[in-house]
């Protein structure tokens, strides 16, 4: 036990030192330092609450277990409120321009298709991309297979990108709710929709019996925060808060930019993917983009995410090198391909397109979510058939 506390402390110290180093570094600076700390906090929070969109849909469909679904809705609601506060400062009048960094992407069928592919993939693989990243921090050996397959899925998607761009994305309408409804109207409509979904979930899916009364006191509270699992709604609130802070200080939450960039670089080096991807530079979302430095901002975020998750896992005694059956690996690979494909044509995943889109009051996020719901349902049906 002492070993894992020591390991957690060393890892946490390493993360903080890395952030300090980045802060003063010529090629990185304050924003990179903030990104690292935010990534670590995000990884910690989602590991503690086992926050995964796969569970949100699959457990809902399969087991009528509503916890993660409610956690997701909590994240969306709290993040929407946080975004509202920031947007009101950035763009007091939403009628003419768009907030420059938010993931407000063109709406179109590609989002539903991408969401559906992603939803099916995540159920097959047992985790979405952010879920796989935090599981990597816990010691999962299946997660890297999922992520590797996702990179391959990106490769496949690069071949179809131009078609999707020209047919659906280039002329897709950008639908930003505050532009037509104002901030108050957009907030009311969106929060009402989220409340409706929450109501539906609460009504249709029975809750678990409440936990027995836990002891109070500072030691117990610390234990609760660092060792015991967090309830999903708490994870949701943490995600909403981190999403807001990251949007304010750097750019919207996302975990796939670096993955897609690496996939593109490898593909280009092997000569097996198209070099030019039309229109990519102008679109908001998790684009594959290189900077001059060795680590892109998203690389820093994702690596810190894994680190933060590892710290959380070590503290809770949940760090364990986990292997799966051959079937698990096969499903992870198949699912991963779909994850990568879906994330590329949607320019983001459950985090970058759904969370960051919906929190920014963009229709694109809702369309992706709709596809996700359908794809996850299909994936769940498929899993049952294969079982």
């Amino acid at each position: 036990m002492m070993i894992r506390y020591a390991a957690a402390a060393v890892l946490a110290a390493a993360l903080v030192l890395a952030a300090a180093r980045l802060h003063g570094h010529e090629s990185y600076g304050r924003a990179a330092s903030f990104t690292l700390l935010a990534g670590a906090a995000f990884g910690f929070a989602i590991q503690r609450s086992r926050f995964c969109f796969t569970a949100a849909f699959r457990d809902l469909y399969l087991l009528r277990d509503r916890r993660m679904a409610l956690g997701t809705l909590a994240a969306l609601a709290s993040g929407s409120v946080g975004y509202l506060v920031v947007l009101g400062a950035q763009l007091p009048d939403p009628s003419r321009y768009l907030p420059p960094t938010a993931h407000i992407a063109p709406s179109g069928l590609h989002l539903v298709l991408g969401g559906a592919a992603f939803g099916t993939g995540m159920v097959l693989a047992g985790g979405c991309i952010s879920g796989s990243l935090y599981r990597l921090g816990e010691g999962s050996l299946v997660a890297p297979v999922t992520l590797g397959a996702a990179a391959a899925g990106y490769g496949l998607a690069f071949w179809t990108w131009d078609w999707f761009y020209l047919k659906m994305i280039a002329e897709g309408p950008v639908v930003w709710l505050p532009r037509s409804l104002g901030y108050a109207g957009a907030a009311a409509a969106q929060l009402a929709a989220l409340a409706l979904l929450a109501g539906l979930v609460l009504w249709k899916c029975p809750g678990l019996p409440p936990r027995p009364g836990a002891p109070v006191g500072p030691r117990a509270a610390l234990r609760r925060a660092l060792v015991d699992g967090w309830p999903s709604w708490m994870g949701g609130l943490a995600v909403g808060a981190i999403a807001t802070f990251v949007f304010l200080r750097t750019s919207p939450l996302g975990v796939t930019s670096e993955l897609s960039r690496v996939s593109h670089e490898i593909g280009k080096a092997l000569g097996i993917v198209p070099v030019e991807l039309q229109g990519l530079g102008k679109l908001p979302g998790c684009r594959p983009a290189a900077t001059g430095a060795a680590f892109t901002p998203n690389a820093i975020f994702v690596l810190a995410l894994v680190g933060g998750s590892a710290v959380a896992a070590l503290l809770a005694g949940e760090f364990k090198v986990r292997v799966g059956r051959p079937r698990t690996f096969a499903m992870a690979a198949a699912g991963g391909l779909l994850l990568g494909f879906g994330a590329m044509i949607s320019l983001g995943c459950t985090v970058g397109t759904m969370l960051s889109g919906i929190m920014a009051f963009s229709l694109s996020g809702w369309l992706f979510a709709a596809g996700l719901a359908g794809g996850a349902w299909a994936g769940t049906k498929l899993m049952r058939k294969l079982a």
């Binding site: 924003a31 950035q90 007091p92 009628s95 003419r96 321009y97 420059p100 304010l248």
Partner: protein
């Protein structure tokens, strides 16, 4: 005809529109600087990528009453990521008054590529353009002061030479008519006052506010020429512009020098120096005397 073309070109050179700035936010050569004097204005939101400068402590000498030294100005520019080949874009609150002071600094200290965003903060906000809340961290710039042209600056003795007709020139008082006639010492609520009210003898009163439209942008070159010509300022005699502390006169200096091409100096000491100086002639049409009737 040729002259107005030249003047129009001059104006084009010195001014950029809010739209141009909006389109060039990612341009690596462009460095945007906001010089706003009201507290918290820059912090609450500014043009993406804009650095914020404080006029009181960074563009003036914080100990002596003087303009910022070349060395301090160099350091300020370098930490804002400005080099000699950067395109500097200036804007600010209060109709770009203090941004114009910064423009005057850049011109005196030899930077060749400086633009003023026409309309300033006022126009950017009227057009409902997005604001950024983050302070940028540009890599250090390499700006060096290669030449100083203090001929663009008027001192008290330069003003007296014109008053005593020892040198040709015309003075332009850009303050409000009530300040000019001596009815008030300064607009209400202002802390920088003077012992005497009135104006420099012979100064023409062309308030700065007559040079701008409702949205903060400058009027056309033709309108401006007419405005000044009607007051007897047509560019034939060298001009010295002044106000109370030199910020509004910077605005008029910009109009006369960069838009109309006149020979003009900015008297930054302005009325807070002249109206407090001992033994200088003053014109006071209303007869106001400090604490007197």
């Amino acid at each position: 005809m040729a002259l107005s073309l030249i003047l129009a070109a001059l104006a084009q050179d010195a001014l950029v529109s809010t739209d141009w700035v909006f389109q060039n936010l990612q341009n690596p050569k462009v460095r945007v600087v906001e010089v706003s004097v009201d507290p918290g204005v820059y912090e609450k939101g500014h043009v993406q990528g804009a650095v914020g400068w404080k006029w009181h402590s960074e563009l003036c000498n914080p100990v002596n009453r003087d303009i910022v030294s070349p060395e301090a100005f160099e350091k300020l520019c370098q930490s804002a990521g400005i080099s000699n080949d950067s395109t500097v874009v200036l804007y600010g609150d209060l109709n770009n008054w203090f941004a114009c002071w910064a423009y005057w600094m850049f011109t005196m200290y030899g930077h060749k590529d400086v633009k003023l965003m026409n309309g300033g903060r006022k126009k950017w906000e009227l057009e409902k353009r997005p604001m950024d809340l983050n302070v940028p961290s540009h890599p250090a710039g390499k700006f060096k002061v290669t030449s100083t042209n203090l001929a663009l600056r008027a001192r008290l003795w330069d003003v007296l030479k014109v008053v005593e007709k020892k040198e040709p020139g015309v003075l332009v008082d850009v303050r409000s008519p009530d300040e000019h006639t001596g009815k008030v010492f300064a607009p209400p609520g202002i802390q920088e006052l003077s012992i005497r009210a009135g104006c420099v003898p012979g100064a023409r009163n062309i308030p700065w506010s007559k040079t701008v439209n409702e949205d903060g942008t400058f009027k056309s070159v033709e309108e401006l020429k007419k405005l000044y010509a009607e007051a007897g300022v047509d560019g034939t005699a060298p001009v010295i512009a002044y106000c109370r502390i030199g910020e509004r006169s910077s605005h008029t200096w910009f109009v006369l020098k960069m838009l109309l091409g006149f020979d003009v100096r900015n008297y930054d000491g302005s009325w807070t120096e002249y109206g407090n100086a001992v033994g200088v002639p003053i014109e006071n049409k209303t007869g106001t005397i400090w604490t007197g009737k």
